[in-house]
């Protein structure tokens, strides 16, 4: 059950182009960051880069069909303070959404490992939605040698 509209590379590129336009209109907002702009388009608000969210992937991996991905968020995972969701996005895949992981205080720990497909070398993005409503962002560059057509 996917959340929200199906996001294609085309809509993602359009968002990046619009973000560039926003930069022209509002130069005070700082340098445009394509990952933050894409996350804002997908999740409604701009996330803040944070060391509390760690996205661990190999910098170079031979096979784009099955690239290891681990993520971990520093959080006490209590009712008052926990991670709700972590989204993973691959901006240069034909379909940019990869997966969304829904945690609860009963998870105990906001940490997962899985394997994903990457269609080409790119910056993979993770966005964590925290129980206080804040959005955290982490990204990591992955070079794949055989492209895994997603």
């Amino acid at each position: 059950m996917s959340i929200g509209p199906r996001v294609t590379r085309r809509t993602a590129l359009r968002a990046a182009a619009l973000a560039g336009l926003a930069f022209v209109v509002r130069p005070a907002s700082g340098a445009p960051d394509p990952e933050i702009a894409l996350a804002e388009q997908l999740f409604g608000r701009a996330p803040v880069p944070s060391d509390r969210l760690r996205l661990d992937m190999p910098a170079v991996f031979p096979n784009g069909y099955t690239v290891p991905l681990a993520l971990d968020v520093d959080s006490p995972m209590t009712d008052a303070d926990h991670v709700r969701i972590v989204h993973v996005v691959a901006p240069r895949n034909p379909l940019v959404r990869v997966a969304s992981f829904h945690f609860t205080p009963r998870s105990g720990r906001a940490r997962i490992s899985t394997r994903i497909r990457l269609a080409e070398p790119q910056n993979v993005i993770a966005v964590a939605e925290m129980s206080d409503g804040s959005l955290l962002l982490a990204k990591t560059r992955v070079e794949v040698e055989i492209n895994g057509c997603a």
Binding site: T66, L95, A99, P105, I112, S113, I116, G148, C149, A150
Partner: protein, 108 residues
């Protein structure tokens, strides 16, 4: 396609409050809907789109999976052991099929 086969590895016992690691995998091609067959026709999308883990009936962890999750989707995650009972796992496939697995946990 062979019938998808769920596999789970979880501890059978844990101390109260312990955070246990669970490994869950299902054999599945995760057909993305972007590939063409030998005749050049797009092959319809058929993926596992949702995974859930319930602990004595309560949803404790779930995942929305999209086309870019690798074939034979593998998930390693955590659950806090609170009381003895069952862990139920469900994989939902496009088209409505659901594959399940269950493990018993004894909390001491």
């Amino acid at each position: 396609m062979a019938a998808p086969e769920p596999r789970v590895r979880a501890p059978s016992t844990a101390a109260k409050g312990e955070i246990i690691e669970i490994k869950a995998l299902i054999t599945h091609p995760m057909e993305s809907g972007l590939r063409r067959d030998g005749a050049g026709k797009l092959m319809p999308r058929k993926i596992i789109n949702t995974f859930s883990c319930r602990y004595n009936g309560e949803l404790v962890f779930s995942v929305d999976l999209h086309e870019a999750v690798a074939a034979n989707p593998y998930l390693e995650f955590y659950v806090r052991a609170e009381e003895s009972g069952t862990l139920e796992f469900a994989w939902h496939e496009d088209g409505g099929a659901v594959y399940t697995a269950r493990e018993t946990l004894t909390v001491t």
